[in-house]
Symmetry: C3
Subunit: 139 residues, 3 copies
């Protein structure tokens, strides 16, 4: 049984989805592990992770659009407002999505479906440098 | 340390929750692993996974009812509409729930609570064949 | 390769977030595992788990406030009402957040970001005793 771990950095410009599927595939491939479990974990609370369709980019636009409407800036009952109008909505959007996603690995590849991609979902308006940790265990 | 992996297929008829707890328990039991971690992963982006109460079936009806109201068909700002009125809402509902769930295994069984069941949550209106991957590692 | 498993109990008084980060860190430290994967799993369907900011407590208040507004008590279309007005909203809030969270472990510690904490998110109004299972695998 073997393991590997790696931290990757993702530069975001604004709110939206940033695909990291190729980094995930490369990490799994480089590990040399054929059967196992790979975990993606994001070390922040104002962005998150998502498995979503990577065929039509409109899906990503609509996803971000829904979350912007569900958790708008300017909700007047918020008390955590010192870090900007987009910060508390960002924490809420992160709570509604995922911080961690585990994906089985078979024949040296994550078992993503045909149309599935792994995305970093940035919830802040300004550019950020985000850190994702990949971990794999198996043999 | 051992591993096992299996793909199961779930036939869905319409939107709603489909319990797969017995398949999960059978997979864990067949693996012969006493202590470990089992992961359920769904290979689609318009259905998802959920741990929920399996005592009162009304809970499942209300859950589906809530998501249908939160993410209704016909939101006029959507741009990804080519795959039908239920498709983009399905992607959004999947983003709001889970694609992957990890459950510790103890004494040869997933540590589900007394009332917990594992469900495939179908978000599309028409029948679909859905694939779930189970993976277990432990000894 | 080694494993460890532990069940911790959390006493909740009312709806809100209860931090369990120190229990998680202690479990990982006691396991003696340097590199691995730790999983937190909650054995209930009316509370859930969340990774969130542990710097400003206002974030936790606002998070609970958002979910209370998104899933209010008294939605008149609910049919599962026998266990009290807070029960079905609790199941829905649990579905919108997490039952299970996997966190890579590096140098003997979960790779939580600087401001990240692990929380039990209680969705019921009355006091409850909640059980979380921690599992770690690695070496």
């Amino acid at each position: 049984m073997q393991q590997a771990i790696e931290r990757i950095s993702v530069a975001t410009q604004e709110q939206g989805l940033y695909e990291v599927t190729s980094s995930l595939r490369a990490f799994v491939g480089d590990s040399g592990i054929g059967l196992g479990l790979v975990t993606a974990y994001v070390r922040h609370t104002s962005c998150s992770l998502l498995i979503q369709e990577n065929a039509d980019p409109d899906v990503q636009v609509d996803l971000a659009g829904f979350f912007r409407r569900l958790v708008p800036e300017g909700m007047d009952w918020l008390i955590h407002t010192t870090e900007g109008p987009d910060d508390m909505p960002a924490h809420i959007k992160a709570a509604l999505t995922q911080t961690s996603i585990g994906i089985p690995v078979s024949e040296g590849r994550p078992v993503l479906g045909t149309w599935q991609g792994l995305y970093l979902f940035e919830h802040r308006s300004q550019p950020h440098r985000r850190e994702i940790v990949f971990h794999i265990i198996g043999e």
